[in-house]
Amino acid sequence: MITITGKTIAEKIFSAHSGTDARAGDIVIADVDFVMGQDGTSPLAIRALENMGVDSVFDPSKVAVVMDHSSPSPIEGVSALHTMMREFGKKTGVTVYDIGEGVCHQIIPERGHVVPGDLMVGCDSHTCTYGAVNVFSTGVGSTDGAAAMAAGKLWFKVPDTMKVTYTGALNPGVFSKDLILYLAGKIGVDGATYMALEFHGPVIDALSVEARMTISNMAIEVGAKSGLMVADEKTIEWFKGRGEKTPDPQSPDADAVYADSIEIDASQIGPQIAKPHAVDNVSPIEEVEGTPIAQGVLGTCTNGRLEDFAIAAQILEGRKVHPDVRFIVAPSSRQVYLDAIEAGYIQTLTRAGAAVVTPGCGPCVGTHNGVPSDGENVISTANRNFKGRMGNSNAFIYLGSPATVAASVIEAKITDPRKYFE
């Protein structure tokens, strides 16, 4: 007798998009609901399309290119690439998000380009972010992106899934960033290679949609293809007013088969820090408290959302950034920027001494907006601390939550933020 078992979220989304009974390990050709590229990757995708002899995309309303990584352009070379993207938009009719619109991973869900149950690819590794809203979204290279733009489909290997359940509850001063850093420390940078992650449990349920995105954003940091969550009422509510598309949420079956399962008691976790130069080089903050820092960064596709600004503003209200620290703040989108102004967060942070830069990637990837100097330590809310990541291979990057960054810029050293939440 053949036993038919249930399916994971990934298997359900791939089944629905390939018209097959997709199971982990199968290779399928699946329809994609959206394709995205940013300014570091779109130019190569545009060139790949030219080389393929293709001069239109499968559906211009399902393709966007975003200028976020080096934006506004710091040098001529980038200006030329931006021009190439604008011309591509004019020629094909795809949506172009020009400078100042924000980071691709904020814009795509914010504008309702994807909805729960969708399958999408983006030419950027952190495309896994929208797993938080039940989208199987994954990063691909420019040539894959070009093929998807041309054909509206792509080949995929349906991944195995690792189930991560967070039990208990978050302690005050501890945030979703700490949960994902803890996981990275536990399973390592290749702990989920080739797999999808599914995040479950009461801690995830209690998080806001924004805080969930921080977790899914970093799925790639443990090698995962996607970081999926179920769509609950909060998710559906979040999509209201964000476009025309109807969500088709996919939940795992009770008898879905997981390649691995981990349970983490969130009540036992304090603020976490990833130390240079690897995202899995994680310690509890107690072990690195007091490490001097010269620069703090609040922003990026990991932690540049309104809630992150609220947390930082709460800590910095009536306080000052230490004179020995540069504090760089980058809202993740124009909308976040406007909302943060409306709420007074930008004023609070600016008064405290922050330098607010254009919505976008900010100094995250070392192209502009705050390259650290030799020997300097940086504390950042970003997702990567590789050597040279911020443009100087002689600098040292520590990763933490927005609360940890805000607490640290006040004292010019890595500081436990829990004292502000007592």
Binding site: R47, A80, S125, D144, A151, D190, R384
Partner: protein, 166 residues
């Protein structure tokens, strides 16, 4: 496909920022010019060592972790790297390598040392270390990937078949 060249060996978890730093990747779309920066944060001489006679980049586990930048396999191709031989690969890099036509070989690399002369036969699935006189077998690629590589990458595949033909 068969190749013979020297091995240039590095460690585990070589990330895409080491292969080509973000600070260079955004400067231009000219891969020939960017190739001189390949691997430079790990080994500033990589390009000069590999370019004249070609070479194999040999590594440990999780090669190519990090970003989706296709510049990573492209600068390696343009630096005259014939194939990457590693214990395991990060998913996006692996796909990008196949799509751009850079052979990736998954096998045990512990026995290979920096500077060894290697002969690689992709079809029969064997790395021959001529310096040590040993053979290391590797599993063949899944058929979809083998076909893309045989066609010379995804662009060539599209040109040849007018779309996906797998």
């Amino acid at each position: 496909m068969e190749f013979q060249a020297k091995a240039f060996k590095y460690g585990d978890d070589i990330n895409t920022d080491y292969i080509i730093s973000g600070k260079h990747k955004f400067k231009s779309a000219d891969m020939e010019a960017m190739a001189v920066h390949a691997m430079e944060d790990l080994d500033s001489e990589y390009y000069n060592k590999v370019k004249p006679n070609g070479g194999f980049l040999v590594a440990g586990k999780n090669f190519g972790m990090g970003s989706s930048r296709e510049q990573a396999p492209l600068v390696l191709i343009h630096s005259n790297t014939k194939a990457i031989i590693a214990k395991s690969f990060a998913r996006i890099f692996f796909r990008n390598a196949i799509n751009t036509g850079l052979p990736v070989i998954e096998c045990d690399t512990d026995l290979i040392d920096d500077g060894d002369e290697l002969f690689v036969d992709l079809e029969s699935g064997v790395v021959r270390d001529l310096t040590k006189d040993i053979e290391i077998p590797f599993p063949p690629l899944p058929p979809v990937m083998a076909q893309l590589l045989a066609d010379g990458g995804l662009v060539e595949h599209f040109k040849k078949h007018g779309g996906f033909s797998i």
